[in-house]
């Protein structure tokens, strides 16, 4: 009996102690909250801790020389090889690619060039060959132009778990600033027999490509600016050639020489590379213009979607001019509807398309198809294979799509079945 009483007493004591402890904790917590709400003391947001800080109740970080991305949304390039990385198309908004997410492709690494020690030589079939420093280039009348640059070897497939960037992330868009090549050549006097030019970079590969002069004279820019700042080293600092609509490899980075010629040089890059096998055993060369193309960037792998209304989004582009129309299908190609194009629609530029879609929760496939102002319709994989008698290669721009599963999971559709 007394043993039982002792026992009860002990429990009572324990409960009392527990109550006191809880009370102290509560008091401390309330005190801390009151303190934080009333004091002027600056509490640094500690994003690494698990405690959620109300950002409206603390002072934020001070200003800085160079901005940074939110740590909660910080897209990265997809590094495929040491010589290439791809733009994560699925992580971007609008149509301008942030310069540090512009795709990279180089053949001997990224050179570090001091502009004071860099010159551009323009010679060949011109009356007055010249040497230009970056500071000279900036004296000419400048132009700025928003356009895409796409590598002509920009199509990968083969598994369902692929993101838009992995499929065709070797395309990016910037506002390029520089001098029209025609402005400089006008000063130098082009000889009548001139038909081509050779552009050469200052990298370890001395990357060189021949380009028809007539095309280059209409729109080519010797660019030194990209999205408001100097071109990044990965994109050709201090100067590069930009030829809107042409395959990326011709747009020589780290540009150090332009030779005006009567014939193409037939460099390795325009013969053994950047040529494609086409029908009848032929090999096609100087396929310079990028044909029209599109890709849905939402919904796309690895995102998971929910039933109901959502905006289907993507980009479309053509090296031959403006995108005239983008057709989308949300029922595996049975019906096609015209997507809304975000204006202003620019020539040879990534163009955003959108389409409001009410997903009913049933498995389906979404597809997009670009049509440009020449009337070219983005072909399917099978159309390309039939036309070229070739299953891959440069300038492969097929319609791609995404399979939506019942769970809302999204996977790359099998291109051979589109």
């Amino acid at each position: 009996m007394s043993e039982g009483k002792e026992y009860l007493k002990e429990i009572r004591l324990l409960v009392r102690w527990l109550a006191v402890t809880v009370a102290i904790f509560l008091a401390l917590a309330v005190g801390l909250v009151i303190y934080q709400h009333t004091s002027n003391h600056v509490v640094e947001p500690d994003f690494d801790s698990k405690i959620t800080v109300d950002p409206s109740k603390v002072q934020g970080k001070p200003s800085s020389e160079v901005g940074y991305r939110s740590k909660f949304d910080s897209p990265k390039r997809i590094a495929t090889y040491a010589t290439a990385s791809r733009t994560p198309l699925e992580d971007l908004q609008g149509t301008i690619t942030p310069s540090d997410l512009h795709f990279e492709r180089h053949h001997a690494g990224i050179p570090e060039i001091n502009p004071e020690q860099h010159e551009l030589l323009i010679h060949g079939l011109v009356e007055k060959p010249i040497r230009l420093k970056l500071s000279d280039l900036k004296k000419y009348p400048s132009v700025s132009r928003i356009c895409f640059i796409e590598c002509s070897g920009n199509f990968r497939y083969g598994k369902r778990e692929m993101t838009p960037g992995e499929v065709c992330g070797l395309t990016s868009q910037s506002e390029w600033t520089g001098v029209l090549l025609s402005t400089i050549l006008r000063d130098l006097g082009v000889k009548p027999e001139a038909k081509w030019l050779l552009a050469e970079g200052a990298d370890g590969a001395l990357m060189a490509r021949s380009v028809p002069l007539q095309e280059a004279l209409t729109e080519a820019i010797i660019a030194y600016g990209q999205n408001g700042e100097a071109i990044r080293p990965q994109q050709g600092y201090p100067m590069r050639l930009v030829i809107p609509g042409f395959e990326g490899n011709t747009q020589i980075k780290w540009l150090r020489r332009i030779e005006v010629t009567d014939k193409p040089v037939m460099t390795r890059e325009e013969t053994s590379k950047y040529t494609e096998k086409v029908k009848d055993g032929k090999i096609r060369m100087f396929s310079l213009v990028m044909d029209a193309r599109s890709i849905i960037t939402y919904p796309a792998y690895p995102k998971k979607i929910e039933k109901g209304w959502q905006e289907l989004r993507g980009i479309a582009w053509s090296g031959r001019g403006k995108v005239a129309k983008v057709l989308v299908s949300t029922d595996n190609g049975k019906t096609w509807k015209e997507a809304h194009l975000q204006g202003p629609v620019l020539e040879k530029a990534h163009t955003a398309f959108k389409f409001m879609w009410n997903w009913d929760g049933k498995p389906t496939r979404v597809l997009s198809k670009a049509i440009d102002e020449t009337g070219y319709v983005q072909p399917t994989y099978n159309q390309l294979v039939r036309a070229r008698e070739s299953k891959a290669g440069y300038h492969f721009n097929p319609v791609v799509g995404w399979d939506i599963e019942k769970t809302g999971e999204v996977y790359l559709a099998d291109v051979e079945g589109i």
């Binding site: 050469e200 030779e259 202003p344 009337g375 070219y376």
Partner: protein
């Protein structure tokens, strides 16, 4: 009044001439644009009218400077230096400077196959249309770990060796500025120029 009329007439004619005789290199606004549409070349023609005939920017490039930089070699042989390459000498240089990436026989890798084997991969022998490209590319970019380090003599020898390995020349055939452009590469006849023109046709 008639005096003024004459002045206006002369100015009018001058204006018409100015408009008609636009410099050939002026960038024309893209064809097919509808009015009200914006694009990069808006107003450019008007801006160009304010430019002088000559800017005179930059420094004259003299012959010796150009010669130092002008390294490209064309199919017609333009740009080839004097010299003579032999496959025999090329084999020695190839073993030292090329084999580690392209394999002892030119097809074992790990990098690009240079010599045709049974796999059907693209090689110099079955895919390259011009022999001069070998000289241009090897001198321009190779070897990978020391680009631009080969002498013209070494480049000639390696060019001869790669042509010999692909069965295009005999071992004793000498490669010179005259003989290299004359070599007909097996793949040359397969090459066509771009036949895509936009429009509805898929090519």
């Amino acid at each position: 009044m008639t005096k003024h009329g004459a002045v206006y007439f002369v100015i009018g004619i001058a204006l018409i001439l100015l408009i008609c005789c636009d410099a050939a290199d002026k960038v024309e606004p893209s064809a097919g644009r509808r009015q009200g549409e914006t694009d990069w070349s808006d107003g450019l023609v008007t801006y160009q009218e304010t430019w002088p005939d000559k800017f005179g920017i930059g420094r004259h490039a003299d012959k010796s400077f150009i010669a130092k930089w002008d390294i490209d070699v064309r199919p017609d042989g333009k740009g080839l230096p004097d010299g003579e390459g032999s496959a025999k000498n090329g084999a020695v240089i190839y073993r030292q400077k090329c084999a580690s990436c392209h394999g002892a026989n030119g097809y074992e890798g790990p990098e690009d196959k240079l010599v045709t084997d049974s796999t059907g991969s693209n090689t110099i022998g079955n895919y390259w249309p011009y022999a001069t490209t070998i000289f241009d590319y090897v001198r321009r970019s190779m070897p990978f770990n020391a680009p631009g380090s080969l002498t013209d003599q070494e480049v000639y020898d390696i060019t001869a060796y790669l042509l010999y390995l692909n069965g295009i020349i005999k071992e004793e055939y000498k490669i010179t500025a005259t003989t290299l452009p004359q070599i007909e590469m097996p793949a040359k006849k397969r090459y066509i120029s771009d036949d895509r023109r936009g429009g509805p046709e898929v090519r």
